[in-house]
């Protein structure tokens, strides 16, 4: 069966930066010699490693995508090469699943949509700039009046009738539920605190009822 593969390897470039080319060309040669077809070569570039490998803090990431028959067993051949080569710090070869391919097509569709949106925005922006340039004199009096209006607007907001205790509670509940939604992104200790505070609120409600 024809499979899509992806192989990623991290090259040690602490001693010789040219090592990247020699290693990647060797891998490409191996793939092609054994009957694989290279689809894409992606150089991620020099990156900081999350943890040191053989006392290296940085490595050069290269990704090669290729398709080959599963009987050829190319990932295993590559593994042998990777293990022999001292300059390769880490490697990962895997078959690309259908789901990943579908996801990529979805993402590329989204990217296209974003580009279109940006293009539309740029088109919208251009006439606006021209208008501002044409009438600079008429803007000045409006700006002078603006702060006075905003002050008038702010005062009634602050002097709203005081909320009853029930209303305040309901608002607090809403807030806590909102926080619960977002805490997944935040770190654990904060979450625990939120839980405790929500429990306290619940207790108070029960007592009143």
């Amino acid at each position: 069966m024809e499979n899509q593969y992806s192989t990623i390897f991290v090259v040690d470039i602490s001693q010789n930066p040219d090592e990247v080319d020699t290693v990647s060309s060797r891998i490409q040669q191996l793939i092609e010699d054994h009957g694989g077809v290279i689809k894409k070569i992606d150089r991620w570039g020099k990156r900081r490693l999350a943890y040191s490998i053989n006392k290296n803090t940085h490595g050069f990431y290269v990704e090669i995508e290729f398709s080959a028959n599963s009987r050829l067993n190319i990932p295993r051949i590559l593994e042998g090469e990777y293990r022999l080569n001292d300059r390769v710090l880490r490697f990962l070869s895997y078959t690309i699943t259908k789901k990943e391919l579908i996801q990529r097509s979805i993402n590329s569709g989204k990217a296209k949509a974003r580009k279109l949106e940006q293009a539309e925005k740029e088109i919208e922006k251009q006439p606006v700039v021209e208008k501002e340039a044409k009438i600079p004199a008429s803007e000045e009096p409006i700006q002078a009046d603006a702060p006075v209006e905003s002050e008038n607007l702010k005062k009634p907001e602050s002097s709203e009738p005081e909320k009853t205790s029930e209303e305040v509670e309901s608002i607090e509940e809403e807030k806590s539920s909102e926080e619960e939604k977002t805490f997944d992104e935040e770190k654990k200790p904060e979450k625990v605190e939120e839980d405790e505070s929500s429990k306290e609120e619940n207790k108070n409600e029960k007592i009143e009822n």
Partner: protein, 74 residues
Amino acid sequence: MLQRKKRVCRFCESGDIYIDFRDEKRLVRFLTEQGKIVPRRTSGNCNEHQRQLAQAIKRARHLAMIPFVSDIPR
């Protein structure tokens, strides 16, 4: 009286089918401070996506894109 809203899996919400390990910024969100994988009961992920996420995190760890352990030195 108290009706907690059912949390929906983030990946289901965004309509993702596959979680890519190359997207490390997204993976880091589902790690604790120490670098552990956040359990399903806290992350709210569905079964399918949690398994994909675990796979992605393990691949990213192997390639030194995210740490196995990141503890604050005392």
